[in-house]
């Protein structure tokens, strides 16, 4: 049978792959998208159930998803099965690799927080000497951020703060703050900490995903073919040109292997799957840094306080409810001397309940406590920046293979003293602010969940101007292979404290536009 020829092979269908497909097909290029999992049908594949109707009463099958703390028995089937798709890590250094292989990938389930990186992240070497510069600055990416924010309909409040670049928001209206949020804002502001609002992708029809905001446009061009259940094993290379020329892939059900050819390969499988594929293919690593500088954000530091006037169900109207957001406020000037570099943001929510494990109580005594504190709680959590370090890395573990015989990743990531000091400051600061508001702190932890838990892993194919110290150039093309482009989070030089999706989307849009133009001119 004659097979259809495509200009571009895109591996992965999440936000980054969806954006590449949209941009490239709208430029008239034919694209083939291979996705490792099936398409979900939200009607067929989901149903309301009671926990007692489930086989394990809501606990989930023991041992099935040991690294996915977000999993429960209701959503267990949306995550990648860890037995089919294992990975390894040192026993004393757990790593939570949280994956989705459904069509649309993790874009189906993200938290929709939508921030831009600032030049504190893009140019740290220039600003305060605390890290490597990216080969691009905010000004290079700002036009793409703007377009992405329009597509995803991002709401937010403009502040004019350099560490928190404003976006082109489609909605800037927020309901009035509750009295508790007003009080908190007053306390924080007096300490010089700016308080803003969450920036949120509204999307359309309840979704802000590749499958509803990006891929339909690509399909409408008639230039995109999507194949589901296609697990890419290896990128192939033309021996004469040294360029990528296609990929071997396996049918997820039968294991049947096929080979597809393309002029250009775009990798959008997610930071670590993309890196695994490149390492298994043995390409694009003349620098030796591929797999290194794995980084994500610290999540888990949390402080909960109770507002005394709101206890026992006596909260006056408008006292509780609402939220506040404090973008990074540490180490913004050289005068700010801390025992750590970088910073963190604080998310604050008002009006919650206390959790039973906050109290060393049981039985009726515990229930009285929970009843009394119901609705009176204000919680603070952080996303804290981890510093990229060469020793935090992934490599191929040839001793372990997945269900399709493909060698898995071994992941090693550990925190340094900087991370420990940063999260201690975060917990102490939140506690201080709550005390300043006159509230009782009922729970505080400066511990974090294992690396990876934030599902913001980035950095293992970092971009840079120097081919000896980076994998990709500033257009996300491999230094070693100009027709191979990485559009997911693997290209990041640092994570920042910001949720990465807007940056991934904007980088993918920018890289795809450049790629399309290079192909049109015959340079690729």
């Amino acid at each position: 049978m004659a097979t259809k020829q495509h200009d571009v092979l895109i591996v992965g269908s999440g936000h980054s792959g969806g954006m590449a497909a949209k941009i490239l097909t709208e430029k008239g290029l034919s694209c083939l998208m291979l996705n490792a999992g099936p398409e979900a049908d939200l009607q067929r594949d989901r149903t309301m159930k009671s926990a007692h109707e489930l086989p394990y009463r809501g606990f989930g099958q023991p041992g099935r998803l040991p690294h996915v703390f977000q999993a429960n028995e209701f959503n267990a089937n949306q995550w990648v099965d860890e037995k089919e798709n294992p990975y390894t890590h040192p026993p004393e250094a757990p790593y939570n690799w949280v994956r989705v292989r459904l069509l649309g990938g993790r874009s189906l389930f993200w938290a929709r927080q939508s921030f831009r990186l600032s030049d504190y992240e893009f140019k740290p070497a220039d600003i305060d000497g605390t890290g490597d510069n990216w080969p691009i600055a905010l000004a290079d990416l700002a036009p793409y951020y703007s377009r992405v924010e329009q597509i995803f309909r991002v709401s937010g409040r403009k502040e004019g703060w350099p560490q928190f670049p404003d976006g082109d928001f489609t909605d800037s209206s927020f309901p009035p703050d509750s009295e508790s949020i007003k009080r908190f804002t007053e306390v924080a502001t007096k300490k010089g900490i700016g308080v803003s609002k969450w920036r949120f992708a509204q999307g359309r029809d309840g979704l802000a995903s590749s499958i509803n905001l990006l891929l339909p446009d690509a399909l409408a061009t008639g230039k995109l073919d999507i194949v589901e259940n296609a697990i890419v094993r290896e990128i192939t290379v033309d021996k004469n040109t040294g360029l990528a020329n296609g990929a071997y892939f396996l049918d997820r059900h039968s294991g049947r292997e096929m080979h597809v050819k393309a002029r250009v390969i775009v990798l959008a499988a997610g930071c670590l799957e993309t890196t695994r594929l490149l390492l298994n293919s043995g390409i694009c690593n003349s620098s030796g840094v591929m797999g290194h500088y794995l980084v994500d954000q610290m999540y888990g530091v949390s402080v909960v306080a109770s507002v005394p006037e709101a206890r026992d169900g006596k909260a006056p109207e408008n006292l509780m409810g609402g939220s506040a957001f404090m973008p990074r406020f540490r180490n913004l000037s050289k005068k700010d001397k801390r025992d750590f570099i970088k910073g963190y943001c604080l998310h604050v929510s008002s009006g919650g309940d206390a959790s039973p494990h906050f109290f060393p109580l049981y039985g009726e005594e515990l229930q009285r406590k929970l009843d009394g504190y119901a609705g009176s709680c204000v919680s603070a959590g952080i996303f804290g920046e981890r510093v990229p370090r060469y020793e935090n890395h992934v490599r191929i573990n040839n001793d372990v293979k997945d269900a399709w015989g493909i060698p898995v990743l071994h992941i090693e990531a550990r925190d340094s003293e900087n991370e420990v000091n940063l999260r201690r400051d975060a917990a102490n600061t939140a506690e201080e602010l709550f005390h300043g508001a006159g509230w009782e702190v009922i729970c505080k932890t400066d511990q974090v969940n294992p690396p990876g838990y934030s599902i913001h892993e980035v950095g293992t194919c970092r971009m840079g101007d120097n081919p000896k110290t980076s994998v990709l150039n500033k257009w996300s093309q491999a230094h070693d292979m100009k027709n191979l482009v990485v559009v997911d989070g693997a290209s990041f030089v640092s994570s920042g404290w910001q949720n990465p999706t807007m940056t991934i989307l904007s980088l993918s849009m920018r890289a795809s536009e450049h790629l399309g133009e290079e192909m049109r001119q015959g340079n690729v």
Binding site: G37, P38, A40, D41, Q43, R44, D45, R46, T47, M48, K49, S50, A51, H52, E53, L54, Y56, R57, G58, F59, P62, G63, F69, N72, E73, F74, N75, A76, N77, Q78, E84, R204, D205, I211, N212, P216, D217, A220, R252, H253, G300, S302, D353, A354, S355, P356, H357, F358, F359, P360, Y362, G363, Q367, L370, A374, A403, C443, T445, Q447, N449
Partner: protein
């Protein structure tokens, strides 16, 4: 518009293609064996009756089989003390939480099994050492003497203490609460709003369940 249409189509898709339509398609499909006189393929029904079926927990209790009788009796006592019936809602014993946990732990990783077995054994030993009876035979004050020093405040449910007995007490307390709040007995009992913990996470025991999506099945 294209995006909106796409999602509307997605949401409008029927949960299951009508069986009648499926069978009609089969009948219209041209036969690959036109000369075969009598096909042995059984006729598919045009409609299938939906019969009422009964939930298994309504007809039979769970048969405990993992813990020893002494361990299980200690677990029952813990259930009665840690999660008693309150505010008209069933307690852990009403919800048969010990029986369910006997099953759950029996299919759990060995580490969790050891945590439970050692924890329950330790409670029985402490009861013998301090009060010369097993844990199940203790009175409320005696139980409090043993377990209160073992309770620890935590922020995250998975943030377990290093001390094995404190770890066990945190785990069994969480598990008993969840097994109770996620039980049929709890779901059927009144409209009192539960407070805290996984009950709220599952919206009073109900949630959007993802079925297995196109699972890989190998022979």
């Amino acid at each position: 518009m294209k995006r909106r249409k796409f999602v509307q189509n997605l949401l409008a898709a029927p949960a299951v293609a009508p069986l009648a339509a499926q069978t009609q398609n089969q009948q219209q499909r041209p036969s690959t064996q036109p000369n075969t006189p009598a096909r042995q393929v059984p006729q598919q029904p045009h409609e299938m009756a939906q019969l009422a079926v009964t939930e298994v927990d309504l007809v039979a209790p769970t048969q405990p089989r993992f813990f020893t009788p002494d361990q299980f009796s200690a677990l029952q006592k813990l259930a009665a003390v840690l999660v008693p019936p309150l505010k008209g809602k069933p307690g852990a014993m009403d919800a048969q939480a010990p029986e369910f946990l006997d099953f759950l732990i029996s299919v759990s990783p060995e580490e969790r099994q050891s945590l439970y077995r050692n924890g329950l054994e330790s409670l029985n030993r402490a009861a013998q050492d301090q009060f010369h009876t097993n844990f199940h035979g203790l009175e409320a004050k005696q139980i409090d003497t043993i377990i209160r020093p073992l309770l620890v405040a935590r922020y995250w449910p998975q943030d377990m203490p290093d001390d094995p007995m404190k770890h066990f007490m945190a785990q069994v307390h969480d598990d008993l609460r969840t097994a109770t709040a996620n039980s049929r007995e709890w779901a059927e009992n009144g409209s009192a709003s539960p407070t805290g913990g996984r009950v709220r996470r599952f919206n009073r025991g109900r949630g959007m369940y993802w079925r297995p999506v196109d699972p890989v099945v190998r022979g």
